[in-house]
Structures are given as structure tokens and as C-alpha cells.
Symmetry: C2
Subunit: 211 residues, 2 copies
């Protein structure tokens, strides 16, 4: 049975360790493809076109959106961010599970357009640990930390829109859990309608044949 890939949306609080988790997941297992977003914001130091993002002009982005070439897009801080459709669909067809690391608004748009998408939310073991991690980076001002915590409190209101939570305490344990959730999702009844219908028809043929 040739199985199609699953569209997996991963969201989570800033500081929950999503980025490291995604990198580890893709390194460990070969059934994943990470979708790269398109943005109109300027590349930051060290960012490379086609690795962190596809960096494009506002005109290119708007043209792409107009042509239906983005599965979702949104505007933050005067910049567009979106998910190119072509890559996602090609990888799903090839049987790859495609990971989109996007925020809650984008996640809800995806769920609307692709009801069989799997929505995962990465959480720290506790709020205090989130605060400590944000502070521990040592690169952020208190103001930025407070802003992130306020944003986490807001985002936490939307967790019920997701299918699963993953608690990122130990990186390896969490990676395994994440993989296990996606692996199991392939067996959901609503992702196997073709196989089930086929089994019914085969059984009916056998039952009729016996008469």
C-alpha cells in the first residue's frame, strides 16, 4: 500500500525548543520534509535564501499569493510570511510527512483547508522553565522576555485547536514522542478510507462467491 504523507503543523511557545526539536527529528528519521516559508522580510545575519526562508520582494509574494501558490500566508510586523504550495504537495505525494513550523493563526488556516492535517503543540514542562530558558539565553532584554511570556499566555488559550501536545523536557525523548505521534497518525481510520473500502469490496466478493 503506497501511503501518502501527512501534513504536520508544529507550533509552540517561543523558547519551547521547536527549532532544535525539528532539526533532531529530521536528522533521525528519513520520512520527513521540512517546509520552508517564503517571506518579504530582509534576511538576518547568517540566514541563507532557501534554508531559513525564501526571501522575496513584496511584488513576487503578492503575485504568488494571487495565483494560489501559497497554502497559507499571514502578515506580521509589516512583512508577509507564507507556505509555498508546490513543495508541500510534491513531498506529500512522494509519501513524505511534511512539517510546517507556523504560528497558531496559520495553523488554523491549514486545518480549515486540509482537515486531515495533524496539529501539534510543543510545550515546556512548566511555565517557570519557559521563563528560565528565555532568560538563560542571555541574549534577550527583560522587556523581550516579558513580551514573549505575554505572547505565550495568549497562545496558550488556543491549544485546544491542536490535536496533540508534546512536552519538551529531554530532547531525545521528545523527538521520539513526536515521531511516534506522526507514525501512529498514519493508521487513523479517516486516513485509510481507501484501504477500508477496498477490504469491504473484497469481502463482499468472497461472500457472494461462496453462494
Amino acid at each position: 500500500m503506497k501511503r501518502k504523507g501527512i501534513l504536520v503543523v508544529v507550533s509552540g511557545f517561543s523558547g519551547a525548543g521547536k527549532g532544535t526539536l525539528m532539526k533532531n527529528l529530521i536528522k533521525k528519521y528519513d520520512n520527513y520534509a521540512l517546509s520552508i516559508s517564503m517571506t518579504t522580510r530582509m534576511p538576518r545575519e547568517g540566514e541563507m535564501d532557501g534554508r531559513e526562508y525564501f526571501f522575496v520582494s513584496k511584488e513576487t509574494f503578492e503575485e504568488k499569493a494571487k495565483q494560489g501558490g501559497l497554502v497559507e500566508y499571514a502578515c506580521y510586523c509589516d512583512n508577509y510570511y507564507g507556505t509555498p504550495r508546490e513543495y508541500v504537495e510534491a513531498q506529500l505525494e512522494m509519501g513524505k510527512d511534511v512539517i510546517l513550523e507556523i504560528e497558531i493563526q496559520g495553523a488554523l488556516k491549514i486545518k480549515e483547508k486540509f482537515p486531515s492535517a495533524l496539529l501539534l503543540f510543543v510545550m515546556p514542562p512548566s511555565a517557570n522553565q519557559l521563563r528560565d530558558r528565555l532568560a538563560g539565553r542571555g541574549t534577550e532584554t527583560q522587556e523581550v522576555i516579558d513580551k514573549r511570556l505575554r505572547r505565550a499566555a495568549e497562545e496558550a488559550e488556543g491549544i485546544e485547536s491542536y490535536d496533540y501536545i508534546v512536552i519538551n523536557d529531554d530532547l531525545e525523548v521528545c523527538t521520539k514522542e513526536l515521531h511516534s505521534i506522526i507514525f501512529a497518525a498514519h493508521n487513523a481510520v479517516d486516513r485509510n478510507e481507501g484501504f477500508i473500502e477496498n477490504m469491504r469490496q473484497e469481502l463482499n466478493v468472497l461472500v457472494k462467491g461462496e453462494k
Copy 2:
């Protein structure tokens, strides 16, 4: 975080290999408890009270049912079959995932009473393989095989009431898949409402504390 067990219902066509699969699952992993049904039918040769079933009189069974001591029960071929409540609830409290191997009618009753129960359906890779397995036992008459195939065709109509299917081709692969599905189910958002609510409150305390 002390986690509660999940009530797992396993159904499947006769000949799909449920019994062997359950035995292998319980042998390999220590988080499972297999619920033993109570029945009024007579023990067959080799069956032991408290292992295959709890064998009781009709009066004992009906008294148990009247007192609410069964999570579900049904009557097949003039005999009662039911799931004793006490064992199931004690094991769930201890954090064990409790497996009920029951038929579709019982499965639907469980889902009604325990909406967070996980319903799994074990299938053979194909209908022809099911027929070959039933015939291959060499112990069944053609009439019995035909009856089982007709019953499988009927049961196949109800698969959409289940959450996941498991295709039993290779025993070890299938056991791992089954375990992975149950393991992943612990992370479902609706099984972690307490943790999520707690995180929200902690975040709100931090956000208010900063002001």
C-alpha cells in the same frame, strides 16, 4: 506528572490474529493490563477460570450487572459476556492502559460511556489472506469459514466507528504499531486538559507578576 491509563478497545475480524497480537503486546511492554471478561457460558477444554474468562452462573452475572459492576455486557447465543468494572477502574487509576478485546456492539457501548476510550480495529492485509488464514487453521469446516467471512463483511461496515486500524501482516511490526498508537494517544490534547489548564494559570501568574 502522574498519568492515568487509557481504556483501549481492540476489535477485529475472526482470523485477523487479535489473540496472538494481544499476548505479544503484553509480553513486550509493561504498561498494559488485559481485562478478562465474565461469561455465563461453560468453560471449553483447556480454559481456566480467571485466565480466559471468569466463569459464573446466570444469577451471579445478572446480580453483578444490576449492581452496575459491569462496564458493558451483551448476550450472544444465549450466553452473557461482560467486562467487570472494578478491575478496569483500578488498573486505569494505577496508570495501566487497559485492553478490552470485545466485539463491535460492546465497543460502541464503551465509547458512549467513556468518550476518551481508544478504539482499534485489527485487520488482515487483504480479504483473501483472511480466507486463507481461516482455511489454513485446518480445524474449521467450510461452513464455519463461510460464516466467519460473512460476519467479517458485516463487521467491516462498522470500522468508521473506530479511531485507528492496525494491519496484522507481520506480528512484530504490528505489535510495535499498536503500541505506538496507544503511546501517542497519551499526548492527545483532550487527554491533557489538566496539564494545559495548569500551564495557563502558571503563565498568567508570571505575566501578572512582572507588572
